[in-house]
């Protein structure tokens, strides 16, 4: 019988490797992490350190080669692809470095996308998307297409899309990597607000130390392993 965990995310002895012909490339080696509900965690490390791979495992985009990934009591490494898709839709919001909005849809329609997987009516989807856009201060840009938005605005739309279905966990992969300092700080401030005021658990990958300062806790990865066994905590 497994021990009950107080964490929202529990990663135990996770390894991840890829086969390239006869060669096995191990990108994560025996990672153990616990992330509490409502935490804002920054995963830092140089390129190739495995931070995005780890983020993909937590977000259910990939599966570990060995070890377990448990999120909110669900062993997501044991879910089939269909169940995993449903689980992602219900539990995780994703924010990418390059926003990854669908260019032919308006901001509102982009935000509505996750809601297409729910039983909400068209009017309810529209209303929820507008609320999410208001929450990121973009209520007046609902009809704009991504190409008509600045980088910061596009990222706000991406955040609105990530939170519209009210997920427990927000996964952010270099959310400010394509933004200038000022805009980046605004986005990070918004994430911090979502964490503090709305209780969202946020896991953010970044190699920008200034961005990491917005997180309540920082973990350093290098060559597929946590550098410090003792996790350092800091308040922004």
């Amino acid at each position: 019988m497994e021990e009950a965990s107080p964490n929202l995310v529990t990663i135990r002895n996770v390894t991840k490797y890829y086969e390239r012909g006869k060669q096995r490339i191990e990108v994560l080696h025996g990672i153990d992490i616990g992330i509490a509900k409502g935490e804002f965690l920054a995963l830092m490390g140089p390129s190739g350190s495995g931070k995005t791979t780890l983020l993909n495992l937590i977000g259910g985009l990939d599966k570990p080669s060995t070890g377990s990934v448990e999120v909110a009591g669900t062993r997501i490494d044991q879910l089939g692809s269909g169940e995993l898709a449903k689980w992602r839709a219900a539990n995780v919001g994703f924010v990418f470095q390059f926003y990854n909005l669908l260019p032919m849809l308006s901001a509102r329609k982009n935000v509505e996308l996750p809601l297409l997987l729910t039983k909400l009516s068209s009017a309810e989807r529209k209303r929820n998307a507008e609320i999410a856009l208001h929450l990121v201060n973009l209520g007046d840009r609902a009809a704009h297409k991504p190409k008509e938005l600045s980088g910061g605005q596009a990222q706000r739309v991406a955040i609105a899309r990530a939170i519209v279905s009210d997920p427990t966990l927000l996964i952010c992969d270099e959310p400010t990597g394509d933004l200038d300092r000022h805009t980046a700080d605004e986005i990070l401030g918004l994430l911090q607000e979502l964490n503090r005021l709305h209780g969202k658990t946020i896991i953010m990958v970044t190699h920008d130390p200034k961005a990491a300062e917005f997180a309540a806790r920082r973990l350093q990865l290098d060559k597929g392993a946590l550098v410090n066994a003792v996790e350092s905590r800091s308040e922004a």
């Binding site: 993909n56 985009l61 269909g82 992602r88 839709a89 994703f94 260019p103 996308l113 997987l117 068209s122």
Partner: protein, 384 residues
Amino acid sequence: MKYLPLLWANLLRKKTRTILTILSVIVAFLLFGMLDAVRVAFSVRDSLEGASRLVVSSRLSIIQPLPYADLQQIQRIDGVEAVVYANWFGGIYQDRKNFFANFAVSQNYLDIYPEFILPKEQEQAFLTTRTGAVVGENLANRFGWKLGDKIPLEATIFPHKNGSNTWTFDLVGIFKAREARDRNQEDQMLFRYDYFDEGRTFGNGTVGWYVVKIADPERAAEITQAIDSFFANSAAETKTQTEKQFALDFVKQMGDIGLIVTSIMGAVFFTILLLTGNTMSQAVRERIPELAVLKTLGFSNQRVLWLVLGESLLLVILGGMVGLLLSMFGVNALSAAFRGGVFKVDINSWLTGVGLMVLLAVGVGLPPALRAMRLRIVDALVAH
């Protein structure tokens, strides 16, 4: 339905490409509708119901003549009001491209065609002039013929026994259609059978077909049966049918219409399959990162497969429906050229068309849809 705006937005992403693809699908289904109407017209037997005229030809083949002696026997069959006869001549006026129908006919031929108006004195001239010919007004206008003109036709089947290939006729009458819908029937030339029969080098004493006027159209089926039964087991068995069916069989001599039409449609759809398939594959290839994003958001593999297939279906159904609608207009125009509305896009053509649309959509959509379904999110996002 909730995915329709998403599918529509994807189609409109590259408007020019989508419009061109839809246009090619429209053309394909326009051709399908028209060709299928032709195929159906040549494969469906015309109903005898209400027919006031029947055509009696050889049971063996439309080009096999019947004995002239059959005339009196047909006239004696109960319910037959009048019998006329004709023989295809196939003459060429000056140049092959000047094609028009020309027949040797009995002198009373126009008596059973009240839809044509021939002035009395011209009718009389036809009866008294062995080399006389009457033509429809359209044909006269086309070649600038007027009464009294001599019209030479080059024989393609029947050389003249005088050794010449040229038959010369005196234009003694110009008939007009009573109704506008019959104007297309004015493109023919009729001349006297006795002049033709005496002058030809073979086949004398035979006619191509008989046209029977019946007193009671309600008895068409019965009289048809009576005529064919009468000549059953004779040296020249007959096939009696409606004029429309006879005309269709006449055209069928050119070849297997069904095979020709199916071959053309097959080639068209194969080309469309390649063209549209390439477009769909390209469109999906360009959107791989976006499909990965949809999967990230929780769209399952199957849902992504259906989205791509739905897009393909929308594209083909849109073009196909417009094409079939346009074909209805085209077929109506074609039908107007054939008396009695021979061609039409019927419910079966629509159902076959919709079936083809679905097949085409699956054919062009399935390979990219499978690719999208199998897409690994992590790989696609890294590639982006």
